[in-house]
């Protein structure tokens, strides 16, 4: 058993948050000086081989975060609600999979939710300064006061996690219970998990624990058991032990090789700078032309020609003006 984290203290002195503003490593749409010393990285490890799909994590998440999800309907499956929402930060996804090698049914149950990427696509995509922050312990958190509801983070996320709230038009996702972690607790889902399919600790400990679990799985015929800590996003602070780590996508479409979409990279990278340059260039070109070429003014002669034309006097023939413009050289 992974030793349980002691009960929380209700004493204000003991419950003082132990990380915060100064530990912000990345801040959306802002330049920050990363803290000189990084906090120990934390991680949540979800061991799918131990998960019984009881949804205690979902329940605990709703309770701790005081979220009010709608009561839905049954759609012929155990998954409920049918998708993550602004109130469902975590969701058990159930997949009935027949292992082609053994012909045995396997009920794959994956707890979906924010992966707390080391290289967070949401943060990268966010245009609002400080709406998304990454603490140096790895937690990626949304600061709702700063969220403008543009939903760019939704597009930035390689795992399709953040969800917009219809109520306040800000985007929600798992915070890794930053308020709990800040006082030395684990996230609510981890605390509740009956079988310790979810454990929480430092990332190094979690990797060791995963090794211990993977060894056990290999003795039970899961030759491809392994850790899911995708390097495409720089590793994650929520990791999975997968009995079939060679094919993550069988677990309710867990991305095989997640990375921030090149489209998002292009949009948040090159496009920004090129676009600003192009617009600047256009404005500058106009200015330069004005200075060099001067304004294009109507001459007295033009007016007279117009008068002649309208008064029905000898109208000039339909040809280029006989007079050159007031300024500029004649050929």
């Amino acid at each position: 058993m992974f030793p349980p984290i002691p009960n929380p203290s209700v004493d204000p002195a003991a419950a003082k948050p132990r990380f915060g503003e100064k530990d912000i490593m990345r801040r959306s749409a802002s330049e920050v000086t990363p803290p000189a010393e990084r906090l120990t990285e934390v991680a949540k490890l979800i061991d799918i081989s131990k998960c019984i799909g009881c949804k205690a994590c979902q329940s605990a998440c709703l309770e701790w975060n005081q979220l009010h999800e709608e009561i839905g309907f049954n759609h012929g499956v155990y998954t409920n609600p049918m998708d993550l929402t602004a109130n469902t930060f975590t969701l058990m996804r159930f997949t009935e999979w027949v292992n082609p090698q053994t012909d045995n049914l396997e009920w794959l149950i994956r707890k979906d939710g924010c992966m707390h990427c080391e290289d967070p696509g949401c943060l990268k995509a966010c245009p609002s300064p400080g709406a998304i922050v990454q603490y140096s312990n790895g937690i990626v958190d949304f600061i709702h006061e700063n969220c403008i509801g543009c939903g760019y983070c939704i597009k930035g996320c390689p795992f399709d996690i953040p969800r917009m709230s219809k109520a306040d038009n800000t985007v929600y996702k798992c915070t890794l219970c930053s308020d709990r972690v800040a006082v030395g607790q684990g996230p609510a889902c981890q605390k509740a998990c009956p079988t310790q399919a979810i454990v929480f600790g430092t990332k190094a400990e979690m990797k060791d624990w995963a090794d211990f679990r993977i060894k056990d799985l290999k003795t039970r015929g899961f030759d491809n058991a392994g850790l899911y800590d995708p390097q495409g996003v720089g590793g994650t602070h929520v990791m999975y032990v997968l009995p079939h780590a060679d094919q993550p996508s069988i677990y309710a479409n867990l991305p095989d090789d997640p990375h921030i979409s090149p489209i998002v990279q292009a949009w948040k990278g090159a496009t920004k700078y090129v676009g600003l340059a192009v617009m600047g260039f256009a404005a500058a070109a106009g200015l330069l032309h004005y200075v060099v070429a001067g304004p294009n003014k109507v001459t007295e002669e033009d007016e007279e020609n117009a008068e002649r034309l309208t008064e029905g006097r000898t109208a000039p023939p339909p040809s280029p003006p006989s007079e050159p413009p007031s300024r500029g050289r004649t050929p």
Binding site: S30, P127, S128, P129, N146, C147, I148, G149, C150, G151, Y152, I154, K155, D160, M164, N169, T170, I263, A266, W267, T271, K272, G275, L276, V278, M279, A282, G286, H289, Y290, A293, G294, P295, N296, K297, V298, T299, E300, E301, D302, E303, E304, N305, A306, E307, L309, T310, E311, G312, A315, P318, P320, P321, E323, P324, P325, R327, G328, R329, P331
Partner: protein, 239 residues
């Protein structure tokens, strides 16, 4: 089409409703009706607001612009609605102006000589109707870009349209929207610059009229048509 048009097929369609010549010193030529001007300025203001709010979300360096709109949430919320205003306003403008902006034979010559124009040799340019090829270019660019912007904008308008597209489609839409926005801002810069550079132009969209000299100098064909039409006497308005 009016009876007049059928009787005088030689007259091109680039005379718009309300265009008229008033002899005098100087000659005054009505170029835009009140309705057209209001329509233009609604479009123009929308575009400027869209550019400002859009740029605020385009790069963190310009995020301060959200202050103009009452903060980030308001900027995000207002931007698409202004887009809708722009789209419909421009649609009316489009219906109003598209006929006069249809390509004409002289457009090719005009484009070929556009270097001369910039260099100040307007005398080398062919006589053009109500709009020259450059203006037509702005008009058609705006039309096309606005369609792209509204379409891509709807795809990324999560508050109402989130369920209808995939994330990947939304990502593409954002990229397209931002690139298009850059282009339309450039077109807008050209448009505004042209109005500033060519003196006497702005009055067309403020007072609604230009001087005869301005029309003679820049849109002589249009002027001739107006004068010719005046000579033939009163007639039914063109559309």
């Amino acid at each position: 089409m009016t009876a007049y048009d059928r009787k005088a097929p030689e007259v091109p369609d680039d005379v718009e409703a309300g265009d008229a010549v008033h002899p005098g010193r100087p000659v005054i030529v009505d170029r835009y009706t009140v309705a057209a001007r209001i329509n233009h300025w609604i479009t123009a203001i929308s575009l400027v607001l869209l550019a400002l709010s859009g740029l605020a979300l385009y790069t963190p360096k310009l995020f301060f612009l959200t202050a103009l709109f009452g903060g980030g949430q308001w900027t995000r919320a207002i931007h698409p609605w202004i887009g809708v205003v722009l789209f419909f306003s421009f649609m009316i403008l489009f219906i109003r102006f598209f006929r006069a902006n249809l390509p004409a034979r002289e457009d090719v010559t005009w484009v070929a000589h556009s270097g001369d124009l910039l260099a100040g040799h307007e005398e080398k340019m062919p006589e053009v109707g109500k709009y020259n090829a450059g203006q037509k270019g702005v008009f058609w660019s705006m039309s096309g870009l606005i369609v792209i912007l509204i379409l891509s904008g709807v795809v990324m308008w999560d508050q109402y349209f989130f369920p209808y597209t995939t994330i990947e489609q939304k990502r593409i839409a954002i990229l397209v929207h931002s690139i298009t926005a850059v282009v339309i801002i450039c077109v807008w810069i050209i448009h505004v610059y042209a109005a500033i550079w060519v003196k006497g132009t702005i009055g067309a969209m403020t007072r609604g009229s230009v001087t005869g000299g301005w029309a003679w100098r820049h849109h002589r064909k249009w002027l001739r048509e107006l004068v010719g039409r005046r000579a033939r006497g009163p007639r039914a308005p063109a559309e």
